[in-house]
């Protein structure tokens, strides 16, 4: 009994620790004043003003576009790469996997500056596009490592069986292999979106002048105080994701039944 109480209070404490900053952000988004410390009254004005600040609107657009496009491209390239890697001879496979590990293990600062040096030396001016390329680069490894374990089992034999039964290689892939590895593809995509939304430092180094994501906008405003509309915006995004997750979970559970 004592143990159970101990367990539950510990869990509650850690969850509180994990979620308290989010609660703070949501509360501050309803604060009447701009103060970060004093709650002076309930107000919806930061939600109303959210879309009148051009910086915030463009940062939001960039953040979402970069997350979605980079994850989609990473899913296509990464899934193809995973299929190829699973069929590679051992030595080539080890080389590919080691290089794939580099962006995941290396410091983000180092990845950021290496890409920036590369772009500038080749005369590619930093822009929206360079941020997108950088995000694709660090997203692909997450896709590969999510898809690869799903390819391990029977997919190879199933592919060959489909071929023997007269399917073209394209049909065999899309009708047999892909449905099998779909859970890995989806979780790779989700992971890529999460990493892209949360990235700050790589974007910071590879963005062109005037290109901001929510992260870089926050970084730029920290010293003089944030526009509380950023709290409002992030609260909405968080709640939106929460709702999507609950719905997809609910649907998935119903399908199981």
């Amino acid at each position: 009994m004592m143990r159970k109480i101990l367990k539950h209070s510990y869990l509650t404490l850690i969850l509180l620790f994990t979620y308290i900053p989010i609660i703070v952000m949501v509360v501050l988004s309803f604060n009447a004043s701009k103060s970060r410390v004093n709650f002076t009254g309930f107000s919806l004005k930061w939600y109303q003003q959210m879309f009148s600040d051009r910086n915030i609107v463009s940062a939001l657009q960039n953040t979402i576009l970069i997350a979605l496009i980079s994850s989609l491209v990473a899913v296509v390239i990464g899934t193809m790469a995973a299929v190829a890697i699973s069929n590679m001879p051992r030595r080539t496979r080890t080389i590919y996997l080691s290089i794939t590990n580099i962006p995941m293990l290396n410091a983000d600062v180092a990845t950021g500056i290496s890409l920036m040096l590369c772009f500038i030396t080749f005369g590619i001016s930093l822009s929206f596009g360079t941020v997108l390329i950088s995000h694709i680069t660090f997203n692909i490894p997450y896709v590969i490592l999510s898809v690869l374990p799903k390819l391990k089992g029977s997919s190879r034999y199933e592919y060959e069986a489909a071929r023997d039964l007269g399917a073209t290689s394209r049909q065999a892939f899309f009708k047999v292999v892909l449905p099998e590895i779909m859970p890995g593809v989806v979780s790779g995509f989700m992971l890529a979106v999460t990493m892209s939304l949360d990235d700050f430092i790589i974007t910071h180094f590879t963005r062109g002048a005037g290109i901001n994501t929510i992260s870089t906008l926050v970084y730029a405003q920290v010293k003089r105080g944030l526009n509380p509309s950023l709290y409002a915006l992030s609260s909405i995004m968080f709640v939106a994701v929460l709702v999507v997750l609950i719905i997809t979970n609910f649907v998935a559970n119903r399908e199981k039944e």
Partner: protein, 275 residues
């Protein structure tokens, strides 16, 4: 077309991407790090990592990252154990709980801690109400450690939990049947089997903490320059790319040496995903 060349074709987009945006950029870091602004070979940039100004910021980062990693292990282990032993074996649930916060912007979440720990912040308000002494940790190393632990704790919990989940109940019952008490079951069976997870947790907490830019900037108030901040400044403020690359080069080598050492203890399953 035979299957070998088809495989090369499927791998082609990634091969090009890998060479173009992983390998070549790293070669540039090496090149800039080993030359000066007249493109002449020099070791000055690399050596200046050990110049006291820079080396001190590395040592400080090392110290803070080390303490944060230790705290993360202590906090995460019980959580992973509790979730492992809970009868609801819904593994996706625990992943969601700790990944979910990442959907609110990371910099904002760190920023929120300022509201909590400030002199007149929420925590002090509560402490005053409880007639307890106030804390004053804004712009200190403690605040930075707090930020690191907060930001990276999930990356310790998830791999630890994964490695604990792989332990079969029969293994534990076997140990008990053979006369081990609960403490021995933990020290002789559970703990050794959780080491691979702990080691991947350590690398996933230690390296981002060591190289952070944002946490020290926001919670340290610019008073505590860590190695990440120094590199950022060399690139974006003083525009000394050669020095910045030299420092990064040493940092990259250091990281890969650490990875090489820890690799011994991690899972040998080469395709296993870390989180």
């Amino acid at each position: 077309m035979n299957s070998k060349s088809r495989n090369k074709l499927i791998a082609a987009p990634y091969t090009i991407w890998m060479v173009g945006f992983i390998i070549i950029p790293l070669i540039f870091v090496v090149y800039y790090g080993l030359t000066n602004d007249k493109n002449v070979f020099t070791l000055d940039n690399v050596i200046s990592f050990f110049n006291p100004i820079h080396f001190r910021s590395f040592l400080k980062a090392f110290k803070l990252a080390f303490i944060s990693t230790l705290i993360c292990i202590i906090l995460a282990y019980p959580i992973a154990l509790i979730f492992r032993n809970s009868k609801t074996k819904k593994s996706s649930f625990i992943v969601y709980i700790f990944i979910l916060p990442m959907w609110m912007n990371g910099l904002l979440r760190i920023y929120a801690w300022l509201t909590l720990i400030e002199k007149k912040g929420v925590i002090n308000l509560i402490l005053t109400y409880l007639k307890l002494p106030n804390i004053n940790i804004v712009n200190t190393e403690t605040a930075i450690i707090l930020g690191m632990v907060y930001d990276f704790l999930p990356f310790m919990i998830l791999p630890l939990y994964n490695s604990l989940m792989k332990i079969n109940d029969d293994t534990l019952n076997g140990a008990r049947d053979l006369g081990a008490n609960e403490l021995q079951v933990f020290t002789r069976v559970i703990f050794p089997l959780s080491i691979p997870g702990m080691v991947s947790g350590i690398t996933m907490v230690f390296i981002p903490s060591l190289t952070t830019v944002a946490i020290s900037f926001m919670l340290g108030g610019g008073l505590y320059l860590l190695i990440g901040n120094v590199i950022e400044q060399e690139f974006l403020t003083t525009s000394n790319w050669h020095l910045g690359s030299g420092l990064s080069l040493v940092l990259i080598i250091f990281i890969f040496v650490v990875m090489g050492i820890t690799n011994k203890w991690t899972d040998k399953d080469e395709d296993s995903i870390i989180i």
